[in-house]
Amino acid sequence: QDTIKVGVLHSLSGTMAISETTLKDTVLFMIDEQNKKGGINGKKLEAVVVDPASNWPLFAEKARELIAKDKVAVVFGCWTSVSRKSVLPVFKELNSILFYPVQYEGEESERNVFYTGAAPNQQAIPAVDYLMSKDGGDVKRWVLAGTDYVYPRTTNKILEAYLKSKGVAESDIMVNYTPFGHADWQTIVSDIKKFGSAGKKTAVVSTINGDANVPFYKELGNQGIKATDIPVVAFSVGEEELAGLDTKPLVGHLAAWNYFQSVKDPANAKFIKDWQTYTKNPKRVTNDPMEATVIGFNMWVKAVQKVGTTDADKVIDALPGIEAPNLTGGMSKMLPNHHITKPVLVGEIRGDGQLDVVWQTKGLVPGDAWTDYLPGSKDLEADWVTLKCGNYNTVTKKCGGSGS
């Protein structure tokens, strides 16, 4: 066997294809680049692409197929948390490696999974900090609007706890959930407007997912809610989503990520150029989960090079501590909890669909698997290096959760 097989587990059809197809292309791009450099340890990489079709049980089936049948060394994949939850048992059972590149709700650390997207403390909390600052507009009143599923629910739970810890009154927080693909935002946008005209500076924290965003922003624009009145900071809207929108009415609304295409950095410039050459599309945008995929990929390459084998156990043990450059000029590091360090950036939407960084954390923020703001998780810690445990309880000093 003279190639190393790399599994790509992203939906190419169904509702999630809209986001995930790009990540499949990214992995293929990275593999291509790596092979140009001669592969790893003298072996070429070979992608095995499957389409789990936005169907969660199918994710599990395909993961099993990749690992058991195709014998891939590593899998890059998943977007939604449920897809990750669905494949988790498979990765554990067959002891393989998954790189998960999307911001998520946290509350998880598994030996076989490496989380290169943001944990809530790497996105949600800094974004809120920014809004509460002078520069962010000194926001006193909050709308937490999200799609009704686990990631927004959890993120909002954490944010609520966080805001309250900062002295925000219950009555100054409005929480609103909508179904997937919600298209009629008239009522909600007008409610937000009402909520925001109570005399206190108000902002919207949006965990609205994918498809629902375009109609949401369109309605926002048409109802004339300007960023100067009620800024919206989104955690799931990036360059890719904005490409489907006329952003002129949205100028000034915000997004919090760990990467923006507009970041001025040589590594980023090169990456964008190569990517656009690879996809033969000079307008093809880049986004945060892509960057997370890139970082994850490079970390895996380094780990394999370091241990000289693709053997899962060895690579898993080698990964913590591995560093790979991120595209915003820093060096991200894989932590013992299988999350990575990332800068947190807040960007404002520009008229051309790009985002302008208006604020960023001083250094890189380490990802926290277990939030400090929820009672069930504040005592938990993940450490696969010394503790060899994903949910070590610092109070009971036992691996295996909080107990009660």
Partner: protein, 395 residues
């Protein structure tokens, strides 16, 4: 002229089907567990899990064929019963996790802990008991089907109206189960199962056992379906399908008939769901998605409506196509293949695979009989064959 019920039930096709199913249920575990992995005859655990899943789909398809093929009730929401059965099993499996969850809470499943639930909601009580959970697997889908059917059939909701409200039903459940507040884990659903009846769900032995049990349940349900459709009851069902009002004027209480099969069918779908969950390792609200139910109906259509065996076969064919084409180079184009399969089936196999086969067989027989009777010169028109214009069953 009336054959013994057992003989009616077990015509040649059914016997072949059951024998094949039995052979399958024996061969797969043997080839997986006893044949060494190096042998070309070895069946991988991956395949065992996959086939187990197909069997569950086959059972779901069977339950749909019973009501669609024979009574003309087109349920576009049968996935709901499947998912409810699945959730009942999932709840049992969740409770089996015990302190092995990430938060190690002995009572509360993980998703409740991290959303700050303080105690187990009442509807989760009892699910740690396997017997109770299995009862709920039948009871919940059955009860929902019964209540829903009781209203709908008494109100004489038929045809597309019924189809669409079944769709509304499953869609409403989808939205409800999505909600985290509902207490079923929201979008992520129930997952990360450990044991079933003390056996590790991921162990090869358990997988094979589940496959065998699935085959067994499929066989039992198949026999139940056959018993129903070959009895006089089955004839009443077909009568209802073709001329509901006429059946009423003949004194049959149509709604009772429909309610009975609808409920039986829902229970079967629930069983299918319950067997499916430990084999795929997750149950979440997307199983309620209307598209899933439509797809299950399509399996039946592909295999041949009103043939029972066809339903199972259709589920296998469609899902195997899906498995096969979602990997590798063709992955971005597999929808073309699947779409093409559906279009092609309607155009070239209008009665589905099994339906077209039996029709063709009957045609051959009819022709030879026609020839024979023409030779015998009685001029009478032969005795088999169906009207050339099919009445539009169920609208």
């Amino acid at each position: 002229m009336q054959a013994h019920p057992l003989i009616r039930m077990l015509d040649r096709g059914s016997t072949i089907f059951l024998v094949l199913l039995g052979a399958f249920a024996i061969a797969i575990p043997v080839l997986n567990l006893l044949v060494p992995a190096t042998s070309s005859l070895h069946v991988s655990t991956y395949l065992v899990a996959l086939l187990g899943k197909y069997i569950c789909y086959g059972l779901l398809a069977l339950s749909i064929d019973l009501i669609w093929g024979y009574v003309g009730i087109l349920s576009l929401g049968h996935g709901a019963f499947f998912a409810l059965g699945g959730y009942a099993m999932g709840m049992y499996l969740m409770r089996q996790i015990g302190t092995r969850g990430v938060y190690a809470d002995p009572i509360l499943p993980d998703f409740m802990v991290f959303l700050n639930w303080k105690e187990l909601p009442f509807f989760w009580y009892g699910f740690q008991n396997f017997g109770y959970a299995m009862f709920m697997v039948l009871f919940v889908p059955g009860l929902l089907a019964f209540v829903f059917g009781w209203f709908a059939f008494r109100s004489r909701v038929t045809g597309v109206y019924l189809s669409i409200i079944t769709q509304a039903l499953t869609y409403a459940l989808l939205l409800g189960f999505f909600r985290n507040n509902f207490g079923f884990g929201g979008n992520n659903g129930l997952t990360d199962f450990k044991d079933i009846l003390g056996f590790n769900v991921q162990a090869d032995g358990t997988r094979n056992a589940l496959l065998v049990i699935s085959c067994l349940m499929l066989a039992i349900c198949f026999l139940i379906c056959r018993a129903i459709v070959t009895s006089k009851f089955g004839k009443v069902l077909v009568a209802i399908r073709d001329a509901e009002a006429r059946t009423r004027f003949m004194g049959y209480r149509v709604e009772s008939y429909k309610l009975f099969v609808f409920t039986v069918s829902a229970c079967m779908a629930g069983v299918a769901g319950a067997l499916y969950v430990p084999q795929v390792g997750i149950i979440n609200p997307s199983e309620f998605a209307p598209g899933n139910s439509i797809e299950a109906v399509i399996w039946v259509a592909v295999g041949g409506r009103g043939t029972l065996i066809g339903a199972v076969l259709g589920a296998f064919v469609v899902n195997y196509t899906k498995t096969f084409f979602t990997t590798g180079l063709l992955a971005p184009y597999w929808l073309f293949v699947l779409g093409g399969l559906f279009i092609g089936t309607t155009l070239f196999l209008p009665r589905g695979i099994v339906g077209t086969w039996t029709h063709w067989r009957a045609g051959v027989k009819e022709k030879s009989e026609a020839r024979r009777s023409a030779e015998a010169e009685d001029g009478a028109i032969p005795t088999t064959g169906s009207p050339s214009t099919q009445p539009g069953a169920a609208e």
